[in-house]
Symmetry: C2
Subunit: 360 residues, 2 copies
């Protein structure tokens, strides 16, 4: 990924757990030519100031130097997609050292998690899995009716960022139609572009996939979006006061009443935050058949208590807030740092640059 | 789907089981304007000749009339993709009534089944499924390493028909690279086109998705294909004397030794016939880690006996030859019949027309 050799650079990577050796080697390879120090931080124990002082590039999750130790730092790259947890740090408040985020790297894993859950549900994977465990060659007539595929299905994506865009990309490959909903209007071609880091070969860089774009943060705009005849609703928006309990009994009813397929009821996928959904209403909608199923990587609260009725709601698939995780997470974040180091050296604008004035 | 009203047509649909009412209604809707008779055939009991005699269009699975009763038949549409089971019937041997097949309708369901199995394996779905059954919010650190995604992975598809093409379409949406292998050379643009029925919005009609095309039926051509550095091998070719036990210990070793990823070993998907694989060698390759996993909709033999060691081979996912099944199967086949009825009326060539001289 690197452009020229980087003999003058000292890249400091600070991480809170031990990085497996192959991963460390991969990081060093990516920063070919630079001196790379990988430091495991200990809770309550600051990173040695001399490490910070000699670093020209810092890649970190939560550890940041005192501004007086950031004497050689050309830029800081964060392993996180957002910097909310670091906003009050003096490095952000008192310096203008460029900071870049890992925004964009979650698209592929979370899209795969989403599509996997759709298919596991619609193709009744669990039936064959349980039959295999019992060494039973199941009677195939039971798969003739009930199983269905995604061709011609409509998916509405609330929040069309890097995750929503990669879900959209896979959706149209499956023969589906995509509807996008964003907070602010996206009426121009320019405004529909993805300006964040994009994992090569993925996403919807131009925003050309949706058949229509919708917007608004008020309940009415959401409700008219839900009335589009969707088979799938994907919730991929941030938790804010406006989006808290955004989806309740009436929203599920609107979604259901307008669903354009007779045989299947709408399927809800939540990869945002548990509190975007009124969870009791969701359980009720699943039980009464208003909704056909749900894939939830997030719940309210987390961890979900053992006796919570959500665990056993019909056709619900729950995972413990892990949809973005996997081998690729850290290397992909490092790719952005390597890319930006090259851009910095060539005097080009950085990708995923944090804007201190805007706050994101 | 129909073009003009069809008052003069009598469409006879013969089927060996009871069609659910909503499906019967859907069929009648699709042939809007025509008289539609849906007849359930009984084993050993011929369809009443007078039904055959009045039909202008016959849609059938295995039941065919005596040529003397096919007096009004304009064409016959088969629910099957192939007609091997009907080749000796007098209707095929003694008449020239056009016959069309359901070739092409298997692409979407089998591609969904394939991609579902890839993701279930790579994203360790079963771990979250079992945790949910036990009402356990699993520790997310266990998902940080080991899980991986499909971006940048290479998939080789042996047999690039309607199924392979839809797998290819979804693969590139996931950020993968596709390599195609066919029996005969496909060196011209024309030869790479899909000439069968294509479910709208799916497949690779122009054959433009693969980064390279390979061909040959001899073992050497297959082996050089397996040496391309594939992460995935998809077997989607017919069982012939040449393809019987095509993949054995040496083929799996070639696949494994050349796999371009360090962390993951090649994954084999078989949606063809069990006997294309030397199953003992497959089990051995899975046990020894030469292969990373396998998704098998077909086994040798079928049904797979209860005590067969394949059931418990590491990272194998078995389903009972059902990957093509689902709600869409029959309506999609009917779509081809409706399409062809319109084409016949307009004097256009039929789609999926069986060629008696070629035998397919």
């Amino acid at each position: 990924m690197g452009d020229a050799p980087l003999p003058a650079e000292h890249v400091l990577i600070v991480f809170y757990m031990h990085m497996p050796e192959p991963l460390q080697e991969e990081f060093r390879r990516k920063f070919a030519g630079a001196r790379v120090t990988i430091h495991k931080s200990e809770p309550g124990k600051p990173v040695p100031p001399e490490l910070y002082q000699s670093a020209t590039v810092l890649v970190t999750f939560t550890d940041l130097p005192d501004p007086k130790d950031a004497t050689n730092l050309k830029f800081i790259h964060s392993f996180s997609a957002g910097l909310d947890h670091l906003m009050q740090h003096p490095i952000l408040r008192e310096t203008d050292i460029p900071i870049t985020t890992s925004s964009g790297i979650h698209g592929p894993p979370i899209a795969e998690w989403t599509v996997m859950n759709w298919l596991v549900s619609s193709r009744q994977y669990v039936k064959t899995y349980e039959a295999q465990k019992a060494h039973v060659w199941a009677d195939k007539s039971q798969f003739m009716h009930g199983l269905h595929d995604q061709v011609g299905k409509k998916v509405g994506i609330l929040g069309y960022g890097s995750i929503g865009r990669q879900i959209a990309r896979v959706s149209i490959a499956l023969g589906m139609t995509v509807y996008a909903h964003t907070a602010s209007p996206r009426t121009t071609e320019e405004s529909r572009r993805d300006t964040h880091y994009i994992v090569p070969g993925t996403g919807d860089p131009d925003g050309s996939i949706p058949v229509s774009w919708h917007h608004g943060t008020d309940r009415e705009s959401i409700r008219s979006f839900l009335a589009l005849g969707l088979d799938h609703l994907v919730i991929s928006l941030p938790l804010t006061p406006e989006t808290t309990y955004l989806l309740g009994p009436e929203e599920f009813a609107i979604l259901s009443d307008n669903c354009h397929h007779h045989a299947t009821k709408p399927y809800v996928t939540n990869i945002s935050r548990g509190k975007v959904i009124d969870q009791k209403a969701l359980i009720e909608a699943l039980k009464s058949g208003v909704l056909g199923g749900a894939a939830l990587d997030v719940t309210d609260p987390e961890p979900l208590p053992k006796d919570n009725p959500l665990w056993d709601a019909p056709n619900v698939q729950i995972s413990p807030h892990m949809s973005s995780l996997g081998n690729e997470y850290w290397p992909r974040s490092i790719d952005i740092a390597v890319l930006n180091l090259g851009r910095l050296q060539r005097g080009e604008p950085l990708v995923n640059a944090y804007n201190r004035r805007r706050g994101y």
